[in-house]
Symmetry: C2
Subunit: 188 residues, 2 copies
């Protein structure tokens, strides 16, 4: 579907997006960063909108995939397991500059239906993944609505964490433990 040149273009575009945001991203700058002529970039992506959509769809797909693969070391207790899962996600948010990209994505998605759709699919997958993980921890007969309630607390929390993390007065690890504890109680 996409050759190495296409990927190279998107890679350069992502660097610019991280550094300068949606505003700073232009076809010309992408071309310069990729060491190509403008028309060449436009051969691969007819319009800026298409480039942006491909860029962000790709990012979300990749990110969702990295979540799926995520396997954590076995833990002594289900609470520990949950706590480790949450901490892992929070750390992932903190470490990479993906938080910056996500902020752009949220803004762009309001005005680009292709991106909006990709975001929706991403959160759908994320929801499923969290639900599955919680299911492993929850007791046998745990109702689906109870599971949904837990995810409905966890999912917004995770996405909001990258916005408010600098204003919280609790460490990520402490917070993970507390939230895990709280969700664990909810499931039982």
């Amino acid at each position: 579907m996409m050759g190495p040149k296409g990927k190279h273009i998107l890679s350069c575009a992502m660097n610019i997006l991280k550094a300068s945001g949606d505003q700073g991203l232009s076809m010309r700058k992408v071309a310069e960063a990729a060491d190509m002529r403008l028309s060449n970039v436009q051969y691969y992506f007819k319009t800026k909108e298409l480039l942006l959509a491909a860029l962000l769809e790709g990012f979300l797909l990749e990110y969702a995939e990295s979540m799926q693969v995520l396997t954590l070391p076995e833990q002594p207790s289900p609470e520990k397991k949950l706590s480790h899962l949450i901490l892992h996600i929070l750390k992932d948010i903190e470490k990479s500059d993906c938080a910056v990209v996500f902020k752009e994505i949220w803004a762009i998605s309001e005005r680009n239906s292709a991106v909006k759709k990709a975001v929706d699919e991403y959160y759908g997958q994320f929801h499923t993944m969290l639900s599955d993980e919680l299911k492993k921890i929850a007791p046998e007969g745990c109702k689906k609505t109870t599971l949904n309630n837990a995810v409905a607390i966890l999912l917004p929390f995770i996405e909001g964490y990258c916005i408010t993390s600098s204003n919280l007065k609790v460490s990520a690890s402490e917070l993970s433990e507390q939230l895990a504890l709280v969700l664990y109680k909810l499931l039982f």
Copy 2:
């Protein structure tokens, strides 16, 4: 500090921001929307950056203020009270188009230090406000760290809700109740 003309300009600018985002906001469009000449807008706001900063700082200040004023009807139990507080905030997020503005703010704040500072102050206030509200509900001897833990769950949840709300499989009212219950348990 700012006359009615200045406010009128910012009001028009906010309309454009809501409708077309940061990308679509230009001094010329603001001038047109405000029925002024470009130079006239520039008399009030020397640069686009200053206009944007004033616009978003004002928005956040106003929004923070509306939170402070927020008084809820007395509830029979502290859980109900907490649940109503959360629901009120969630509904507020859903009803107005402020979610759109916030998404722009988060993205812009990464590249505009004045906006970043305003965002930081906003979440500082928000944190304090939530902490105060929880204090009213929590038992007498509730430790400060316990309170901080509760806020550290609640605050990210609220901000993340406006991102993920469409993907949750639980209603806002149900979710408020569940979260209130969970936080209540945490405080005791």
